[in-house]
Symmetry: C2
Subunit: 306 residues, 2 copies
């Protein structure tokens, strides 16, 4: 995928969605390029009011069209479940040369929705995914340093305009992120495996235990292993419902592979096959230690994802 020479960012950027990601991006952009006009629109009046109060944007707009009008770059920082609706609304007000990008945690279904809604403007859409969520959400949690040293994955298609890709890459690099490219399907498979599936597994365990008559006894003996394993079960339910649905095929596929792995482990345990159990645990431990070592020496930190 060829990219154009490093572009200068446009002087006006429209941010749709003033939650953690949108708010943090607005703050970060204003900090590193004070002359930039950063417009924000959020359909949640509470978010808009908070964005005004905190001074996230140069202008908090009353509707999508006002935010987008004349903006050469539009960043859609809304939950992945809201993107189809936003693409549809955007189709009628996006400028004829404006670039568009998003921050959704799944990419194939987002790309399908963009292709369907944007028509010829689809070539100006750069699918993106900053790996930089946090347990908190909303504009109050916005942090100008949220993306420093974090990864942002862009998943251009064969239709994507290289200038759009270069501009969006520049946007994220400007706020300190490390940008990588993945094929959209590969992206969805990777994140289904290392992020979406673990969330489902953690939610499922806590929910199952919580529904029992003796849940209180069970939880009273839960310790550090349980604490870490289940920390992601406190993640935002609506956001993860949307992610699971948006990346349904890849998540189902990963879940099925995992169910088979659990059946193999169950078989070894039922057979009292200590050697098989130990071999499985040893391979896991070695891989986990290698990963931790690689992570601790890399420049990219390992944030909570979304």
């Amino acid at each position: 995928m060829p990219e154009a020479a490093v572009p200068v960012l446009p002087r006006v950027i429209a941010l749709v969605g003033a939650g953690l990601i949108g708010g943090s991006l607005a703050l970060a952009l204003r900090r590193c390029q004070p002359e930039l006009e950063v417009r924000v629109f959020d359909r949640d009046p509470g978010h808009s009011a908070a964005a005004r109060r905190i001074g996230i944007a140069t202008r908090v707009c009353a509707d999508l069209a006002a935010a987008v009008e004349g903006a050469p770059l539009v960043v859609l920082a809304v939950p992945v479940g809201a993107l189809p609706e936003v693409f549809a609304a955007l189709a009628s007000c996006l400028g004829p040369d404006a670039w568009v990008t998003d921050v959704g945690s799944s990419k194939c279904s987002v790309i399908d929705a963009a292709r369907g809604a944007l028509g010829s403007a689809f070539a100006r859409f750069v699918p993106g995914h900053p790996i930089s969520g946090a347990e908190r959400s909303g504009p109050e949690a916005a942090d100008a340093a949220l993306f420093v040293g974090r990864r942002v994955v862009l998943t251009p298609t064969s239709d994507t305009d290289p200038r759009a890709l270069a501009t969006v890459r520049r946007l994220w690099e400007l706020v300190g992120a490390e940008v990588g490219l993945l094929d959209p399907a590969q992206h969805d498979r990777v994140f289904a495996a290392v992020s979406h599936l673990p969330h489902l597994l953690s939610y499922a365990l806590v929910e199952e235990l919580a529904g029992r008559g003796d849940a209180q006894l069970l939880f009273s003996y839960a310790a550090g292993g349980f604490r870490d394993f289940t920390r992601i079960a406190a993640s935002h339910p609506g956001m993860w419902r949307d992610i699971a649905l948006a990346n349904r095929d890849a998540v189902l596929s990963e879940l099925d592979v995992y169910l088979q792995a659990l059946q193999r482990l169950r078989h070894a345990l039922a057979a009292g096959d200590g050697a098989a159990l130990q071999a499985t645990f040893e391979r896991a431990r070695a891989a986990r230690l290698r990963w931790a070592e690689a992570g601790s020496s890399a420049s990219v930190s390992n944030p909570v994802e979304g």
Copy 2:
């Protein structure tokens, strides 16, 4: 279960096993009762040498019989898989009035092994489980403060001598632990659910991903959720093999319940049932937040278990 009045600890305590738990208990006992004779035996010459070097015990013994001879209290701090062999060896050298306790993470199979090996001395055995392992192991990791504020579960049977129970309770309280009682089967069910199963689930995920051709790509995008979910996959493989086998029936039962929960979640996802997904995630989140709040206000910390 009636208990005798708070007893004074005997002046000699024999510790079999000088790993993290045995070593920490020895250090803690010597710190709070300097006049105590703490004898240690470990069949691993490296552990014995380290125990001598670190000064864990008042005496590091060359064999089990020498450690146990004349000791009114014997603590078996060996991996749960080694307990049957240790019970068999102990039967021929245990003093006629000595109390015995263990630190194994499962209790029913340990009780069966003790009953089979110890004969009439079984009444003097108090099954125990300090919830206080750590990621490190061996005598070098020993820490006199390891048990302060931690829970120790004792699981006496109807045969257990109340004086033995009171003495072992006193032992753990002396080193700062909070002692609770559970029925052995209940103990095994509780820890299968909140500890042993999560370990299997975490091991299974990491091992499955690590075995793929594109494992390096997958791990390179793993972030904070993955880090926490898989931290316990770095636990000691031999120890967790032993725990899984020792608590096999309860772990299999919990695994089957969990597999059913995953199938329900799979069904909801395949059907695109966002409401069911969200309801599941919300119940999990609420329970996880309640647990974290209760834990943070309780006097008992939540350590890594073993």
